[in-house]
């Protein structure tokens, strides 16, 4: 294996490991869930991304043919990370945030969607659910 390729792979692994460590250090350093939520994004983008690029380069040089199947993991993580963060924030707000005290008014007929699932025309999803059960 040429020295330059080896240097690039080692550098990518070191960068990835350092960013994973920084991302998890933010989990114990930051004070609340909502600031804490942005710490693992470093781990999932730069950390895991550079590790997977290092893996692609390594197997390209090792096997002699280029494959991009590591990009599947990157693509999947990049697609699912915003959905995960949104759902965790919604679960936190439902359990720990008071919509009357901590949030500004929504200036609409209905409240914020996390706290007020009933729509503006008096549509109650729980009624539909009970009808389906009986």
């Amino acid at each position: 294996m040429p020295f330059v390729i080896e240097l690039i792979i080692s550098l990518l692994i070191v960068i990835g490991g350092a960013f994973l460590l920084i991302g998890s250090f933010g989990m114990i350093k930051l004070r609340d869930l909502l600031p804490r939520l942005h710490a693992p994004t470093k781990a999932s983008t730069v950390g895991l991304g550079s590790l997977l690029i290092a893996s692609m380069l390594f197997f390209w040089v090792e096997r002699g043919h280029f494959t991009i199947h590591e990009l599947l993991i990157t693509l999947f993580i990049f697609l699912t990370a915003p959905i995960t963060a949104n759902l965790i924030a919604k679960a936190y707000m439902l359990l720990n945030v008071d919509p009357n005290k901590d949030l500004p008014p929504s200036k609409q007929d209905e409240g914020w969607a996390t706290f007020d699932p009933i729509g503006p025309e008096g549509y109650d999803p729980s009624e539909e659910y009970q009808e389906k059960e009986t």
Binding site: I13, V14, G17, L21, L48, F76, I88
Partner: protein, 89 residues
Amino acid sequence: MIEYALNFGFVCVALALLMNLYRLTAGPTTADRVLAVDTMAINAIALLVLYGIGKATAMYFEGALLFAMFGFVSTVAYCKFVLRGDIIE
């Protein structure tokens, strides 16, 4: 040189997993614990990728892909359960 970089990466990921474990046990709210498990899944993917490079086999790639998929599904299922009291409505 790759061996030293791999050892550094293993140490970093192990420390990151320990920090996530602390947040999992001491997290004040339920959402903190869910976030800790989600980050642990990402760190486990990184550990599998590093181990695959160290052993020079592509077999661990499938394991990493499975971790990516099931980590996402479990996080979404738990958040949905907290939000709606039910997973499949």
